[in-house]
């Protein structure tokens, strides 16, 4: 009997000490690795952050696994892209079943709020225009202006969920924005040789980067966002590339290479791989490294 109480006491103590450890950090689950990276930059040691979509996969089409459901269920904050970037997040949040993390809940953060969106359709969205991107182009983090807005939103939300560390969050936010400013200046300089050039892309996920760098990307291997390349579209692009003297076919590494490679062979253009998300390639370890890598890929092509 004595033993029983001793064990019970130990368990009780363990329970509370575990609780005390938990209180120091808050658990954040982001849909994408890029968002997780931003949360980590601003949350620092005060947050424990993880993400759902493996960066080596197309973020539009992810199949969340039971471990992800548990992760979201245990989260203090759920950070996502909003719009229709991750259509899989609805069943994920449903399965996790925590009302605060559901759309409109206290502990979800929709990063699309307040960012500048491109390609927002003037008329009512329709699927005839493609499966995804029906509310505007949702790949909005490849332009630093939007990342500023996202970082501010993250800092605000973290402060709201965890007011104790609010000052630390604001401090890290300022440091991040300063660093971003420095980098933006450098990126702008590096992009001099890219301005006014044109490329085609596999998926329409580079408009923001293109706008930032002054690059022109207007045609895609996918005839509509999310619809795989068709022979007809490839044939059209052959003519388009030849006529406009385009030398680069841009794509993220998770898209199949077949169509791009064959188009490159036929036209003499070069396939240039760019990172869409943090961790997609070893060179893209965080947001700054990702932008550095994308720029170096582009500048070495357009040199």
């Amino acid at each position: 009997m004595k033993h029983f109480f001793a064990v019970l006491g130990a368990l009780w103590a363990l329970h509370f000490s575990a609780g005390a450890v938990k209180a120091e950090t808050i658990r954040v689950v982001a849909t994408l690795s890029t968002f997780a990276d931003l949360v980590e930059k601003i949350g620092g040691e005060d947050v424990e952050v993880s993400f759902v979509a493996p960066p080596r996969f197309n973020p539009h089409f992810i199949e969340p696994r039971p471990g992800d459901v548990l992760k979201v269920r245990r989260a203090d904050l759920f950070v996502h892209a909003g719009l229709d970037l991750e259509p899989w997040r609805y069943p994920l949040v449903d399965a996790a079943g925590k009302s605060e993390l559901r759309p409109g809940g206290q502990r979800e953060l929709d990063l699309s709020q307040g960012v500048r969106l491109l390609e927002v359709p003037a008329q009512v969205p329709t699927r005839a225009a493609g499966d995804i991107h029906i509310y505007g182009n949702p790949h909005y983090w490849l332009i630093p202006d939007n990342v500023r807005v996202m970082a501010v939103a993250i800092a605000e939300k973290l402060s709201e969920v965890d007011p104790v560390h609010s000052e630390a969050y604001q401090g890290r936010l300022r440091a991040f924005l300063d660093e971003l400013d420095r980098r933006v200046e450098k990126w702008r300089q590096d992009a001099q040789g890219i301005r006014g050039k044109e490329a085609v892309a596999y998926h329409n996920d580079l408009v923001y980067l293109a706008e930032f760098l002054g690059l022109r990307v207007a045609q895609y291997l996918e005839p509509k966002p999310g619809i795989p390349p068709t022979p007809r579209q490839i044939q059209f692009l052959e003519g388009y590339i030849a006529e406009r003297g385009i030398g680069a076919i841009l794509q993220a590494s998770f898209y199949p290479r077949g169509s791009s490679d064959s188009l490159a062979r036929k036209t003499g253009a070069e396939v240039v791989l760019l990172c869409q998300n943090v961790g997609e390639r070893p060179e893209c370890g965080d947001y700054f490294a990702l932008m550095d890598y994308n720029l170096s890929q582009l500048t070495s092509h357009f040199r």
């Binding site: 696994r65 559901r102 500048r116 491109l118 927002v120 699927r127 807005v149 045609q219 068709t230 388009y240």
Partner: protein, 422 residues
């Protein structure tokens, strides 16, 4: 005969990619094509110009607003939405309108069988599902599926409430559901990799799988592993069985019980394995209680060779335990299926399924002890919302008959159509 049917299937499959190509301009219209391309380029230029002017306009508007609000601090951040911000109408965010989706499943089925059952030797709208769902309050959600068919009456396939606000992080479902029994039966038919349910599911649980009115609870076991999860589901459902199912009798008054344990191992981003165990108990005889038992095992291995090339291996086995000694029947009929599905590319997938099932009432004089079927299929993914599939099935039945079937299936979805995670 078999070969010729296979050939026909292959020919049909080849038609799909060609139809995509059909719109390409003929070669003798080069001049016209060039003009078209010029026009296209012009439109693109104009688009770009409009876009850049729009962007400039917005920038000016924002600067203007910022000035007016006197908020030009060291960090000029666009906290307020830009004028062309997306309307917040993403599914699930729309205020009070229920999410409505419709799913049409059109199948053609060519068979040598004389039986006039669902879709034999005809083209039919096998199912038109009307899917309506919405959050009820922060703790619960309502989902329903009403099925129309050109062969059967309107059916209420699903109508249930999911409840999360339960103690111990339990999740509950109440109403008409697809109970968590194995893999194939617990999902909608349009989520299957094949046109038809595996034969063991058809034979024991029902041609469309099993849906019943039930109360079900599920619970993630609170174990510390990162990469392994265990979920237990248990439920009580009304008696009876799915259409043409033979596991239980048709009396709905006697409830049946089921439990399911799902173990999921995430080896890496690329590979995962699910092992499941199901137990079912119910009655066949209206005068008895829980005299029929069945256990099910399911295993699913998924591996991605690349983000586009996915291999799925799945198998389910069901074993019955009952007392039919007096009737001279087998006490432990069993059946299984094994499926391999490979996604070749974003557009195409191929696969095969082997079926083996011992009929519950197989007469001793029958030449075979079991039904065996071999299936091969090809899937064309037109988009996330439209899919085409051709399946060939060679069936050898216990009663000695053989059948060769060809299924063609088109599945299209409109509106909101979200699947529960499995």
């Amino acid at each position: 005969m078999k070969k010729s049917i296979l050939l026909a299937v292959l020919c049909l499959c080849c038609v799909f990619p060609h139809s995509v190509r059909a719109g390409a301009p003929p070669l003798d219209m080069e001049g016209l094509t060039a003009q078209m391309d010029e026009l296209k380029a012009l439109v693109v230029d104009l688009e770009a110009m409009v876009r850049s002017q729009q962007a400039r306009l917005e920038d000016l508007e924002q600067a203007n607003r910022a000035l007016r609000e006197g908020s030009v601090g060291p960090q000029v951040v666009l906290a307020s939405p830009a004028p062309e911000r997306a309307p917040v109408t993403a599914p699930g965010l729309s205020a009070f309108n229920p999410e409505i989706g419709m799913l049409a499943d059109v199948t053609a089925n060519l068979s040598q069988s004389r039986a006039d059952t669902e879709g034999n030797d005809k083209l039919s709208v096998r199912e038109l599902e009307l899917i309506i769902g919405h959050d009820v309050d922060p703790y619960s959600r309502f989902d329903s599926t009403i099925t129309f068919s050109d062969f059967e009456d309107v059916a209420l396939e699903e109508a249930y409430i999911t409840h999360w606000g339960l103690p111990l992080d339990l999740k509950g479902r109440l109403g008409r559901i697809r109970p968590k029994i194995g893999k194939a039966s617990s999902v909608h038919r349009d989520q299957l990799d094949t046109v038809d349910e595996p034969l063991v599911v058809q034979s024991y649980l029902g041609v469309e799988g099993l849906y019943r009115t039930a109360a079900e609870l599920s619970y993630f076991l609170p174990l510390p592993w990162e990469r392994v999860t265990h979920e237990v589901t248990a439920g009580v459902m009304e008696g009876g069985i799915g259409e043409d199912g033979t596991l239980f009798g048709s009396t709905r008054r006697r409830p049946s019980l089921y439990t399911h344990l799902k173990n999921f191992v995430d080896f890496s981003d690329l590979t995962n394995l699910e092992l499941g165990f199901t137990h079912l108990t119910g009655s066949k005889d209206a005068d008895e209680h829980f005299e029929v038992n069945a256990v099910g095992f399911d295993a699913t291995l998924v591996h991605y060779f690349t983000p586009q090339n996915k291999l799925k291996l799945q198998s389910e086995l069901y074993l019955q335990n009952r007392d039919e000694t007096d009737a001279g029947l087998d006490d432990n009929p069993w059946g299984l299926y094994a499926l391999a599905d490979y996604r070749l590319s974003p557009r195409f997938g191929i696969g095969g399924r082997f079926d083996f099932v011992e009929p519950v009432d197989n007469a001793v004089e029958n030449p075979r002890d079991e039904d065996v079927a071999w299936n091969g299929y090809l899937t064309f993914y037109q988009s996330e919302f439209a899919r085409w599939r051709a399946q060939y099935q060679h069936l050898e039945e216990a009663d000695g008959g053989n059948d060769d079937k060809v299924f063609l299936q088109g599945t299209v979805a409109i509106g909101v159509h979200k699947h529960q995670l499995q």
